[in-house]
Amino acid sequence: MHGRKREQYKALQRDPAVVSKLAAKAQQWHTLVREVLAEDSPPQRQLALTEKMLFVNPDPLYLWNIRRRVLLSLQNEAENDNKTTFLSNELGLTQAALENNPKAYGAWLHRKWVLSSSVMISSSTDDTALLENELQLIQMFLQKDERNFHGWNYRRFIVSLLLGDHPDDTNDNVEAFDASQIVVTHKRVRAPATTDRRHEILQAEWDFTQQKIQDNFSNYSAIHYRTRLFPWKLETTFDVETLLTEEWSMILNAVFTEPDDQTAWWYAQYLLRNGPRDQAFYPHLIQTQVIEPLRELLLEAPESKWVPLGLYLLLDAFPDPRTREERQQCLATLQITDADRKQRYEYLLRQLRAESLGDISTM
């Protein structure tokens, strides 16, 4: 119960007409549930009932479960031609359910199962159109709620299908793009995408995150996805220096606009650790295009909490005795500007002192 339909609750308390209407609805619902669950309920009837019920109330997981069982039992008798009907029915139902409740776990799961089942029936190029259509659908859901992790997870799932990554092969050494959350009854037979196609797909995802970030840099989910794509992007980009320059420029813009929005700072941490540290230009880029401007920003935004904290973390990523005093100064500032968390900064200062002691002991 996460805070939904409070108006309904209020109405219950006050209006007898609403109360009796709701009671009648509950009665209807119970009758339907009894029929669905009856031991001798015919499969086709169960399909018809669950469709009706899930359209109205997409939340009960058991209704989706029953539906899947029935579909699986009928599938043994079905021909490939029925795939189209199966697809359109289930996609239609889950879409309606998700429009009703974009966070209904059961609906997302069911749709994933439908897609997995479909692409394993045949690995033709027809599926590409189907999968691309799913990406469009996700666009729509993320438009409504850019932080809906179901939507983001589902997008990654579709991309993994497009790429032909095979999560059943997942072991610790091979990182599939997105391990499917469901146990698929048959192994997927879709062939892995060609190198060119793979590049095309992932570039589209990179561009998608770009678009979402441009819409709103605060969109942590988009940044998070970008960090998943970054290793690929780094590996496949020829002009790495331009790539990193542009990424850092994006971060600095965000930080100068809204210094206390933490999203940019998290991405900064990520880029610092996962950028091309072995390449000569990178430390210089960080020094001149990140650290220097941030030092200026610190002077311009003395009340900011994240600027000294962000600067501290950036400097601390490569502990250098020469920046120790500056790091201490950042923490000292924070103990004043973010006094409610004094103990946190005291802890970090302690670590800094330990670092300097460590230096002395190795001298």
């Binding site: 805070g3 479960n65 610790d172 391990a179």
Partner: protein
């Protein structure tokens, strides 16, 4: 500093009334949770436990509503047991409620229901490890069937539900309560947790690309603690530092958010607060870094108390709306947890001198339910 007009005084009597009423009856919007009824009972029973009600009833012969009755609850829970024949390892566990007739073809135990059932039974005085009414061996065998190749756990043996970090946590709690770890392949489970690590150090609900989230972060960290494997984070300085940082920065103004740039929500005061406490504890040395103090508890308590409903009791997810059972429980759990924060002089004042029972923040239930003297490995 918290403003006096925001915060309410903790109202123990009203909280007891809220949870007692919920044990008796829940309003219509809870219909969706009918198949998860056991989880609602779990929250109510454990809330009443933290509030000291069960102890009071036992020691001082105080009576509350007829629904606050341990034996009735125990009997009801046992009636949701899937299989009680220890010799038949087909499937054993608890079902979420009594919504289906027994022996129905759609009956399946659910790992989260088994977890909550065992917690409730233990708290209400049943010796879950030894009680002959509980098929301990069969439950553990069922766990083994639920574990997937990637180390995660499905919730039912049908396997067609989701599997994510929540169910690994349930599996670990069950194993701890029954003191039998033969149902979990620990190395695989640990690798699943590792794979759920997000770029910022937090844990996602699912591996390989999920976004870090407060609830799943707790589930992963607590699972590692239960499996005695917290060192995988503790020994990874980068991971530990970034995870600490992530947890601490969930507090923006007063309350805690579940992910960056989301709204403050009372339940994260428990998920994140408990995670911090677990991270600060070095089980190897028994030393405790009081990293719980990294949060501003005065502000956090002020936020939580401002979500206490002045008439109904309970706590809501955010201010100025109706309470719900889950957020009510986790708010209470947080208030108990915050009692551990050493340097707190505001504490007594905020809770009007009420002392909540100590919380075991790994299991999320009262510490007294799982005592070392009863053979339970000590846990925070």
């Amino acid at each position: 500093m918290p403003s006096a007009s925001n915060s309410q005084k903790f109202d123990r009597e009203r909280q007891i009334a809220y949870f007692s009423t919920c044990l008796q009856q829940l309003p219509a919007p809870y219909c969706k949770l009918d198949t998860n009824r056991l989880t609602m009972v779990h929250f109510c029973v454990h809330a009443l436990d933290l509030l000291g009600v069960w102890d009071e009833m036992e020691k001082q012969n105080v009576k509350y509503s007829s629904f606050v009755e341990a034996n009735n609850i125990i009997e009801w829970i046992l009636s949701t047991l899937m299989h009680i024949d220890n010799n038949d390892p087909q499937e054993a566990g608890f079902i979420g409620g009594t919504f289906l007739p027994p022996h129905h073809k759609y009956h399946h135990s659910h790992i989260a229901m088994t977890y909550t059932a065992l917690c409730i039974l233990q708290t209400l005085g049943v010796d879950v490890r030894n009680d002959p009414r509980i098929p301990q061996t069969a439950i553990i065998r069922t766990l083994r069937r639920l574990q997937q190749p990637d180390g995660s756990f499905a919730s039912t043996i049908q396997g067609d539900g989701e599997h994510d970090l929540r169910f690994l946590y349930c599996a670990c709690c069950i194993s701890y309560l029954l003191d039998d770890w033969s149902g979990i392949d620990i190395p695989r489970a640990v690798s699943y947790v590792r794979n759920c690590r997000s770029f910022d150090g937090a844990l996602a609900l699912v591996p390989h690309g999920g976004e870090g989230h407060g609830g799943s972060t707790f589930c992963g960290v607590a699972s590692l603690v239960l499996m005695n494997q917290l060192y995988v984070i503790g020994e990874d300085a980068d991971w530990k530092a970034s995870l600490l940082h992530w947890c601490v920065t969930r507090q923006q103004k007063q309350g805690l958010q579940g992910r960056p740039n989301k709204d403050e929500d009372t339940c994260y005061s428990y998920w994140i607060g408990a995670t911090l406490r677990l991270l600060g504890y070095d089980a190897g040395t028994g030393n405790e870094d009081d990293v719980l103090c990294f949060l501003d508890h005065a502000e956090l308590r002020s936020f939580v108390l401002s979500c206490q409903h002045p008439v109904l009791g309970g706590f809501s997810k955010v201010r100025n709306t109706y309470p719900d059972v889950l957020h009510s429980y986790y708010s209470l759990a947080y208030l108990s947890l915050s009692q551990k924060y050493r340097q707190d002089t505001q504490m007594k004042k905020d809770l009007e001198g009420v002392s909540l029972k100590a919380l075991n923040c790994t299991m999320g239930i009262g510490q007294a339910s799982i005592l070392a003297e009863e053979g339970f490995r000590p846990l925070l």
